[in-house]
Symmetry: C2
Subunit: 386 residues, 2 copies
């Protein structure tokens, strides 16, 4: 790989147009993603410097790649949910205390980088955000430079390492955010639980696929751990804990997060099968080809079995986990899932979860503006086309 | 994999006979490994319980395997060095403050588990401590149970996950050790530096092998980061920092650690090539077969080139990274390294480093008993046959 000068963390063009904060200290929800990125840039620039003093190649090849990956991070959803939790629990919208809190929340993006990099290795995914995944990119560099040994092995090794670095540094960023001792103690619980839950979810995903576990229970549990807890519930919990929320507020927010988080994932599952590839940026039917055991698929399989509909059963089972299946096979499986009512059942479940989640905020001592924003978010996260 | 009841963390038979502490509260050096194991058992048992509440399969298959791996941990060298650092900087030998400190030091063993599990994946090592490595073991279970998909892919995925868990939990164990705020702040510096340095060392190892980088400088730098800093220097630093040591004491201990740590690794390198397989538990010449770029090999290659000794050069280069090389090839390469004086040169370097390391303790305000013990350790770690 040719050496390049250490690049700025922010990529030259951003994935989507996001509102730019109008002034320093603006912490409206719309400004949070950019503030998060500023904290990440500061942290990673400092790490690039200190790693450069350890070894130039390490900094320029490994750490720069991580910074680039984190820079392309999209919506900054998890820090955003943490900020919602903070505001919901009456954390200040601005002032000297918000800097450390936002820095601590930004560490969630390093955790997300870790999860994506390692998940891509485990799933053998060759693309991520429209570019080669980390392991695929390093394997390509190995081939281009005609290095010694296996290119794929090299790519996997460096992706494992880069994910490890992101995981370790997520902890470093949280620990060094400048929180008060009380905040640090309060944040530790949700932070630690989230890390373990996301790994448990990934375990169930890998283990369930190996065992061809097509049960609805496993699909929902994996959803709950991998997405709901890790992406919504625990970030909200962490934000509320940082603001010193009491049990009732934490309970309401976690309940909301669990419901809306699962609904969010169920929407993703539907999009993964039914959406226009143009709007999702993923090949049509990729989730089916990868054999992902979603609730949609579990419901379809069960309904086909209950009805003795062997044709639909065969059509769906044929495509699951078959990377070589053609467009006709995907179409047939998709139609079977619709015909069996699995699609409608998941749509209904999404509506129920979003409604129930929003209702959980009623009655708790939550900041009214934050409550409105969270209700709005429950709709936007579950009714979307990409 | 058949489900098994959650097993105790300690394996039924231990790797080597180690002295058992004579009484509770005995914190002589000989008792440290067992006290460390007790802290690890407590921590992991609590995690097994809490993970069982998340998901039974996750706890029984993933977490139990990690606990088993940690239980087979051998000499507990890194916590031991941390304890030496603590005692050298006048930390108390017993009393209420030693529990949290030893618990914090025990987290180094989770970090070590993480490093070994992921390194074995990267190196493709199929055995570890006389048993299948984590990825090899899970791949075997996959084959035995005739699960779906690639057995090797499954093994790799679960080993990545198990390493991730160990890394995350190492931080959790440190953060929850019960240190005072001042101790926690003091320990963070060496802890964070150590994690980054070990990953930088592993990067250089993987990257250097891919580029067939045979330089002495890279061999020594990889040594310094992967072994010296991570195994000796930073654990000593962490222990001293926990005791509130001043810069002079920390400097002396780190200097000792860097020198003795490199010497320790150079001894390992020599044993990897010359030792009787009976005493090391590894196949003869495995390091050569794996293409490890040690100082020994770097010196041999350079000397052969300087002398225009093309025969020796060819003999050594032939075996490097060739898994299929036979015993005759290994013998020839070994003889060439001896004949070229590379072996003697490494022996001399080990003696110099051990002497210089021990001398660095002179003059600093280090506890005399700890100084004697560290001097003794410098000899034992560098003059050994396994």
């Amino acid at each position: 790989m040719p050496k390049t000068p250490v690049r700025p963390v922010r990529p030259p063009h951003r994935e989507s147009a996001e509102p730019v904060p109008t002034e320093p200290g603006d912490t409206s929800y719309a400004s949070i993603p950019l503030l998060v990125e500023r904290h990440l840039e500061d942290f990673l620039r400092e790490r690039l410097d200190s790693c450069g003093r350890i070894d130039g190649d390490f900094a320029e090849i490994a750490v720069t790649r991580l910074a680039e990956f984190v820079g392309r991070g999209g919506k900054r959803l998890r820090p955003l949910f943490a900020w919602y939790g903070w505001r919901a629990a009456h954390g200040a919208a601005s002032g000297p205390g918000t800097g450390p809190v936002l820095r601590a929340m930004s560490a969630l993006e390093l955790l997300q980088a870790f999860a994506l990099i390692h998940d891509d290795v485990m799933d053998g995914s060759r693309t991520r955000r429209g570019a080669p995944s980390v392991h695929a990119g390093f394997a390509r560099a190995h081939r281009r430079e005609r290095w010694s040994g296996s290119a794929d092995g090299f790519g996997t090794s460096l992706a494992i390492l880069l994910g490890d670095i992101a995981l370790a540094w997520a902890d470093d960023m949280l620990a060094g955010a400048g929180l008060s001792p009380a905040q640090w103690t309060a944040a530790r619980g949700p932070w630690q639980a989230m890390r373990t839950e996301m790994m448990a979810g990934q375990f169930l995903d890998v283990y369930g696929q190996a065992r061809r576990d097509g049960s609805e229970a496993t699909a929902l549990k994996t959803n709950r751990l991998k997405t709901a807890a890790y992406s919504v519930e625990r970030p909200l919990h962490m934000g509320a804990a940082l603001a010193g929320a009491d049990r009732a507020v934490v309970g309401a927010l976690r309940g909301y997060g669990a419901d809306v988080g699962v609904a969010f994932q169920l929407r993703d599952d539907l999009l993964g099968v039914y959406a226009d590839p143009e709007s999702t940026g993923k090949p049509a039917g990729e989730d089916l080809r990868e054999g992902k055991r979603t609730l949609l698929v579990a419901l379809g399989l069960r309904r086909a079995r209950d009805r003795g509909d062997r044709v639909s059963l065969a059509v769906i089972e044929k495509v699951l986990g078959d990377p070589g299946v053609d467009a006709g096979g995907i179409d047939a499986a998709r139609d079977a899932l619709t015909r069996l009512g699995a699609r409608d059942a998941v749509e209904e479940r999404i509506r129920d979860l979003a409604d129930r989640g929003a209702a959980r905020l009623d009655g708790a001592a939550i900041d009214p503006a934050a409550r409105d924003a969270l209700r709005d978010l429950a709709v936007r996260a579950t009714v979307r086309d990409h």
